[in-house]
Each structure stands twice: as structure tokens, then as C-alpha cells.
């Protein structure tokens, strides 16, 4: 009658949640889908092909490592974490980047940044961001070659096969796609030439608020990314702590400094809607594995990510700082987790039993 041998009884609880790792990852992918589809429409088929190459490379890298370690490949691929890693990386790349950028990044993410640490749950740093930073440092030219949006169906947009050729062979000279700079990069370059924001923003390549502007897939669809984030919160896949803290970490210093010197500092709204702020706050920094587990720890972590992003954007050499900020805070996660613990029932924050009080 008892299906289990008596030397290994089944421990309580004899019930379990319907939630599972594949389901969690599935919800995250679902939340990413609208922004991604919008990006495909905006940048055309090359963006789709690059996304496909990146995701496939990430999955292949994961499968290769699992095979190497003689672990079952299919269940691990089934959990969707490698696909998510590749997907997030693809959203942070220039949409018209050559195929080998995606393949190199995807492999780098799963092989070196994830499986080399021991696989799912063991990596210290967010694999997608590690790969993005590796690409940014190794191939700065390709990684900063943004194109102006060229929506599907508009004149001059490459078709399915032409798009594949763009991804495989690089941008053809005759194509009507304008190489351009992202807003943050543009502002930074102009600033370094001594042109202040009043002057530079006047002819900046921006059409804000509808998201149609040069940038990565995840940058241009800021509102859709945020909507996906809200969906994840409503489904209790992530909590509000990290996103809110990170956005506050960017917005508060930005607003303060913009108020002090609008000629030198971009306003908070621009900061929030530019670069990887939204993608980072809702999808990157909230990665379970590399962020703290307690609500207070998550607030510290998120705020740190935000402030570091702002600092790097404003004073460092790179126009965008989300990836660096998240990686820096990832390295602090074990420390935050060690020091910020929930208060135990009946004990104070240091773990000392409370004094009995009546009434």
C-alpha cells in the first residue's frame, strides 16, 4: 500500500504549490514577450534573427556543459532559464548587430557565467549582464552601433531573408538604415565635446514616450517592459522591492542634480526611460539567483543598482551603466544576505530572545 520504502519515508508537507521553476521562467518569458514583439516590429527582421541566434546559442551552451558534466540535458533545458538568459541578453544588444555578437554572447553567458559556477542557482553574477559587459569591452564598435527604428512594413525595411542577410553579413551600404547613437550615448559624446544639454538635446535623436528611438530592444519599449514587470508582480513572481528601489535610486539623484544644474544633468524621466533602466529594474536586477532574498536586502540592493547606474551614466566613461551597476551589486549580494536577515519571531534583530511582555 505504501509506495515508499520504510527506510526513506516521505516527509511532510504532503502537498505542494503548483509553482515550479519552468512555470516561473515561463511567466517571466511571457512578461518579456510584448516588449520583444514591439521591438521586432520596430527594428524589423534583423532584430528577430539576432534574438534567435542569441537564444539558440545560450541554450546550446547550456546543453553542451550539461553533456560535459554527464547530467540530464532535457530537464535542465526545460526549466527555461537558459532561454531567459539568452533572451535578456538579446534585448540588451543593438538590434542590427552581426550574428556572431549574439552567438558569442549567448555562449559566454551560459558557459562561462553560469555553468562554470555550477549551473542554475550557483552563479554569483547575472549571466546576461556578464555577457553584455564582455561584449561591450571586447567589441565596442559593434556594441554601440545603434540604428534608427525602421518599422516592419515601412519603406526600406528589410524583409525576412534580407533581414537574415543583414544579421549574417552586416549592414549593406545601400540600405536606408541610419547608423545612430542612443540618447545617453549622444548626450555623453556631446557633453565631452563641450556642448551642454540645452544645446545637444535640441537636436537629439529622440522621440520619447512612445519608445520609437534608437536603442536596444529593451530600451525602446520601456513602457511595455514596465507593464511586463507589473504582470510579474501581480502574479507574485517578483516583489516590488527591487524594481521600485532601483528606479528610485536612479530618479532621486537625477532629479536632485537636474534641479541644481539642468545644463549638465539629464532629468529623472529621461534617465528612467533611457538605456536599460526599465529592463534592468524589472528583469535583470530581480534575477532570483543573484539578488538578496529578504525584502530589506532587496531594497538595499535595488537602490544600490539605481545609484550606481546613475553614477556610471553621469560621471564614468560609458554612456550606460545598468550592466555594470547590476554586476557590482551582484558581488555584494552574499554580504547583504549575510547581514540583512528577517527578524525571527520572538527574537530581536540580532537574534536575542525578546523579553516577555503582557498586554
Amino acid at each position: 500500500m505504501n509506495a515508499h520504502p520504510i527506510d526513506m519515508p516521505v516527509s511532510s508537507p504532503h502537498a505542494t504549490t503548483s509553482l515550479s521553476v519552468p512555470r516561473v521562467m515561463g511567466i517571466v518569458l511571457l512578461a518579456l514577450a510584448p516588449a520583444t514583439l514591439f521591438g521586432f516590429w520596430l527594428y524589423g527582421w534583423p532584430a528577430f534573427w539576432l534574438w534567435l541566434f542569441t537564444v539558440a546559442a545560450a541554450a546550446a551552451g547550456e546543453a553542451f556543459c550539461l553533456r560535459l558534466m554527464a547530467r540530464p540535458v532535457l530537464p535542465a533545458l526545460h526549466d527555461g532559464s537558459a532561454i531567459l538568459t539568452g533572451w535578456l541578453l538579446a534585448l540588451s544588444l543593438p538590434p542590427w548587430a552581426p550574428w556572431w555578437i549574439g552567438v558569442f554572447g549567448g555562449l559566454f553567458a551560459t558557459v562561462l557565467a553560469k555553468q562554470a559556477f555550477g549551473g542554475l542557482g550557483q552563479n554569483l553574477f547575472n549571466p546576461a549582464m556578464v555577457a553584455r559587459v564582455a561584449l561591450l569591452i571586447s567589441f565596442p564598435v559593434q556594441m554601440t552601433a545603434w540604428v534608427a527604428p525602421l518599422p516592419l512594413g515601412s519603406a526600406g525595411a528589410p524583409g525576412l531573408i534580407d533581414g537574415l542577410l543583414v544579421t549574417l553579413k552586416g549592414m549593406p551600404a545601400g540600405l536606408d538604415a541610419v547608423a545612430s547613437a542612443s540618447l545617453l550615448g549622444f548626450a555623453k559624446t556631446e557633453m565631452s565635446r563641450g556642448v551642454d544639454l540645452f544645446a545637444s538635446l535640441a537636436h537629439a535623436p529622440m522621440q520619447p514616450w512612445i519608445g520609437s528611438r534608437p536603442g536596444s530592444l529593451g530600451e525602446t519599449a520601456g513602457w511595455l517592459i514596465a507593464a511586463g514587470g507589473l504582470l510579474m508582480m501581480a502574479l507574485r513572481v517578483i516583489s516590488w522591492h527591487i524594481p521600485l528601489a532601483m528606479l528610485a535610486g536612479i530618479a532621486i539623484p537625477a532629479a536632485l542634480l537636474h534641479a541644481v544644474d539642468p545644463a549638465r544633468y539629464l532629468d529623472a524621466g529621461t534617465h528612467l526611460m533611457s538605456g536599460g533602466a526599465m529592463l534592468g529594474a524589472f528583469f535583470i536586477a530581480t534575477d532570483y539567483v543573484t539578488s538578496p532574498g529578504t525584502p530589506r536586502g532587496q531594497l538595499i540592493f535595488g537602490f544600490g543598482c539605481g545609484v550606481l547606474t546613475f553614477v556610471i551614466r553621469t560621471w564614468a566613461g560609458y554612456p550606460e551603466g545598468v550592466a555594470f551597476a547590476v554586476l557590482l551589486m551582484n558581488s555584494l549580494t552574499p554580504i547583504i544576505d549575510a547581514y540583512v536577515r528577517p527578524r525571527i519571531y520572538g527574537r530581536d534583530r540580532r537574534g536575542v530572545p525578546m523579553v516577555a511582555k503582557r498586554g
Binding site: D7, M8, R71, G118
Partner: protein
């Protein structure tokens, strides 16, 4: 440059000399850890470790010439504590296997010679001459001193039977998962 080298040399020589003098004049006579270890041992002088008594075993432990798992009556708990005290890693594979044991008298063979009673370091065997002896379970440490002494092999060590009170949930086995 020269002054820096010179001052460092002088400092080195002086401090080194001071340390040498201190080590000679402030030397501790006995190893204090030995006494602490002796206090941790059962003190039944059963001799199962191969030493004459617990103090000798403590000395060997302190000197690092004996393994922390030497004391069968102390069992796993003692081995772990000794390892913690001495700052070494205990190889518990030897003690973990068969678990604690206690002595048991085969009533058909016991001739009531009282030899085991005299050998027991904890007075765990009761009985009188020409009467079948018996072991008080709670007092027996499983040291086995009586087993060697019994002329008729009526005394044997048996594992303590697992009862509800002593049963422990096994550690879950995770197959195929990352370490």
C-alpha cells in the same frame, strides 16, 4: 634608502630577540589543551583506545598522534567535539557506521563468575557469584572491557536497538541536482 634598510634590520633583530627571550622565559610548562581534552573524555579508563587511561589518550590527542575518533564510548558526538577543539577535520566514517553498542549477557552461557563485574569501568554489570549477571543499559558505555574478560564468551556487544525515541529522519538524497 640605507636608513630604511638599517632601521628595519635593527627592528627585526630587536623584536626577534625579544620573542626568543619571551619564548624561553614565558614558556608554558604543560600543554593546557591536554587538561581540557581530558575533561572532555569519559574518564572511564576503559582502555579501548589502546592507551592505559584517559589521561594518556588526552596527551596523545593533544600531541596530535592519536585520531579524534579514538574513543568508542564517546562516539560520534565526542569525536566531533574533539575535532572542533583541536581544529582538525574529523574523519567520521569509522565511527558513524555501526553506531553505539552496549554489552549483553547470554543467560544460557553465563556462569556467574563475577569477572566482568570487576572489569566494568562504570559498574554497569550487576550480579553475584553463581548468579546470572545482567547489564544495566543506561550505565553501559559499550567499551567492551567485560567482553575480553568473560571466560565463557557469554558477554557480547550488540547495537542499541533503534526505538521511536532514537530514530532520526534520514538526510534527503538529491539525485542529479547541482551541488
Amino acid at each position: 634608502m640605507l636608513s630604511a634598510v638599517g632601521s628595519l634590520t635593527v627592528m627585526g633583530v630587536t623584536l626577534g630577540g625579544l620573542l626568543g627571550v619571551a619564548s624561553r622565559y614565558l614558556a608554558v610548562e604543560a600543554n593546557p589543551i591536554e587538561a581540557e581534552i581530558q575533561a572532555m573524555l569519559p574518564g572511564s579508563q576503559c582502555g579501548q583506545c589502546g592507551f592505559v587511561g584517559c589521561s594518556q589518550a588526552a596527551a596523545a590527542l593533544a600531541a596530535g598522534t592519536a585520531p579524534v575518533t579514538l574513543c568508542p564510548p564517546g562516539g560520534r558526538a565526542l569525536a566531533q567535539e574533539l575535532a572542533h577543539k583541536l581544529g582538525v577535520k574529523a574523519d567520521l566514517s569509522g565511527v558513524a557506521d555501526d553506531g553505539p553498542k552496549i554489552a549483553q549477557v547470554s543467560e544460557e552461557i553465563c556462569i556467574g563468575c563475577c569477572k566482568c563485574i570487576k572489569a566494568c569501568p562504570t559498574d554497569a554489570v550487576i550480579g553475584a557469584a553463581k548468579q546470572i549477571h545482567n547489564v544495566i543499559r543506561d550505565a553501559c558505555t559499550g567499551c567492551g572491557a567485560c567482553v575480553d574478560r568473560c571466560p565463557t564468551e557469554a558477554m557480547a556487544l550488540v547495537p542499541i536497538p533503534v526505538s521511536l525515541q532514537y530514530w532520526i529522519w534520514p538526510k534527503p538524497v538529491m539525485a542529479g541536482a547541482a551541488a
